[in-house]
Symmetry: C2
Subunit: 344 residues, 2 copies
């Protein structure tokens, strides 16, 4: 990423390819990222739309606020929406752009590690609906995703690590020796971040290209997410659990689903323990009561990725060898949480 | 249409291709069309979702009601939504299906003439937003459109004629001698309706296939709609004008835009007068005050089809010869309304 990541955008801006430019920010990226964006793009005229940050605002009400602003500033079919923010903002901004006047052009500029390696790519746009994550949305590609690690300096350590859950996941899915889990953990997560963004976003893009609409291969990206998403949703409604970040929930999802992989597909115990140990160096262990685990199980049934009421899991035979459409029992689900909670 | 229009659907239903079936109806089609549908498809198990009829309910609130019902009945990615209704219902049902879990399969069964010859085809789905027609939506095709003129027997004469506005439009756009305006008006609109549905929906489909995303040729379908849509929207908010049906507004749009065509492109006066006379046999002339005309003009500026703040009209050089991207003056706009109001 030595070249100017903004060159294509700057070219379009100077050629007046768009009738008007809109930049979508949330209260955080407005404060911490917009100045960087303006300095780098040298953009001189745009309309700013500011929304509240956070998953709890990733809903149809916020979409209506954005559509309304686009109307108010006379956005038309040749307008451009630039989404400057994390995964919540790029998911929602992509949905709003793709449904405004049946679709206007949008560009994603992820400002979090999670966005850079995952959310901003692959064309999944959408919002939550009645506590169900990403229930409403569509497949629609940004014309460009600009990766600029300079935005990461605006993140807290927690927010930064939150993104590593998806990097870990990609490293567990890839069969490229120089990028798999065992290679990844030798890197310096802070110093090598530009390399990590570039390489691990490529893994996602390669998988998505094989299967844009998630009929088959793309499902492997759900590793850790069948349980992880349910944990995340549950943490928003439960009084016994603090709200979890996406990455924190996915880390639990990965450990439990790899335990299930070990039991059902013989995923090596040595790798499982090594992964659990590595994660524990970066993420606190979360306490789940028996009632929590029951309720997470029930919530999971509604997870959108499960077709025809069957819970389909992605499991691993070994690092780099995922297997899709696996079913598990409730007993094994509970057992996996016991494994997660047990100290090493 | 001698063959069983439902054969493909019946085949899919009996092969259990879908995990669950949803039928979207409004209060009218629930009462007048659902029994016909059940009798013809011999469907034995489905979930009914009922919404309120009318353009005023074509909004995000109604979408939320439908998404909620899909959730409540555990719809998943392999569910099917059958839209049984007029243009409002098929537009909105298509949008809801295309955004639920990033898109489930949907089939349109239009129950109005307008739906059969126009709205149910072409992949435009969407809803109104803050009084702006079809402001939110996307391009998404139904897997099938079932045309069955038996539903038309449930319509009042006014509702039936409402659909003829689009048939007239298609007859003005086509260069097929046996289908153009002069051929159409020789038919018996009631007796020949099966033939008319079949042929005039084909005209729409042929135009759409040339240009799915409306970058060019498809724009000709907007004939009569630049002014017509603005009149329709205005009739909803104005206290001086009764609410107009889509077809009634489009008839005014066609006459005014053909008058403009006559002035700017030499569209033959003889044809213009013949068209105006024919329309007057089926549709009452509507009174517009000077203030109405001013406000319709202002509202038109927001019409979604106008890019970069320019009002782009489709005009006709002659019947069957449309020209896109035409600009007009406000004076000519006002003059066109005077022509419309003047008795023959």
């Amino acid at each position: 990423m030595k070249t100017d990541q903004y060159s294509l955008l700057k070219e379009k801006l100077s050629s007046k390819a768009f009738s008007s430019i809109f930049v979508l920010v949330d209260d955080n990226t407005d404060k911490f990222c917009l100045d960087i964006f303006i300095k780098k793009t040298k953009i001189d005229e745009f309309n700013k739309i500011t929304i509240n940050s956070g998953e709890q605002n990733k809903n149809i009400d916020t979409c209506q606020i954005i559509w309304d602003k686009l109307n108010a500033f006379n956005a038309d079919r040749k307008s451009l929406l630039i989404n400057l923010g994390g995964g919540v903002l790029t998911d929602m901004g992509g949905f709003v752009a793709s449904t405004y006047l049946r679709g206007i052009t949008f560009i994603n500029i992820p400002t979090t590690l999670l966005g850079m390696v995952d959310a901003a790519h692959g064309g999944k746009t959408g919002i939550d609906f009645k506590l169900l994550k990403n229930q409403i949305g569509l497949f629609s590609d940004p014309t460009e995703v600009i990766l600029d690690s300079d935005y990461l300096s605006t993140l807290t350590k927690d927010e930064f690590l939150n993104g590593y859950a998806e990097v870990f996941k990609h490293s567990l899915l890839t069969n490229k020796k120089d990028l798999n889990f065992n290679s990844l953990i030798k890197l310096d997560f802070y110093k090598d971040v530009t390399f990590i963004i570039e390489k691990y976003s490529e893994i996602k893009k390669e998988i998505v290209e094989l299967d844009k609409f998630e009929s088959n291969q793309r499902k492997i990206l759900n590793l850790g997410h069948t349980i992880g998403h349910a944990i995340e949703s549950y943490s928003y409604i439960s009084s016994s659990l603090n709200e979890l970040k996406h990455g924190e929930a996915i880390i639990v999802g990965l450990i439990t689903e790899l335990y299930i992989s070990h039991k059902l597909l013989g995923f090596p115990l040595k790798d499982l323990q090594n992964i659990k140990k590595t994660f524990s160096e970066y993420f606190d262990v979360i306490s789940f009561s028996d009632k929590d685990i029951e309720q997470i199980h029930d919530l999971m049934i509604y997870d959108k990725k499960n077709e025809a009421d069957k819970l389909n899991f992605v499991l691993l035979e070994e690092i780099g060898s995922p297997v899709i459409d696996q079913q598990i029992t409730k007993e094994l689900f509970i057992e996996a949480f016991k494994f997660y909670s047990k100290s090493l």
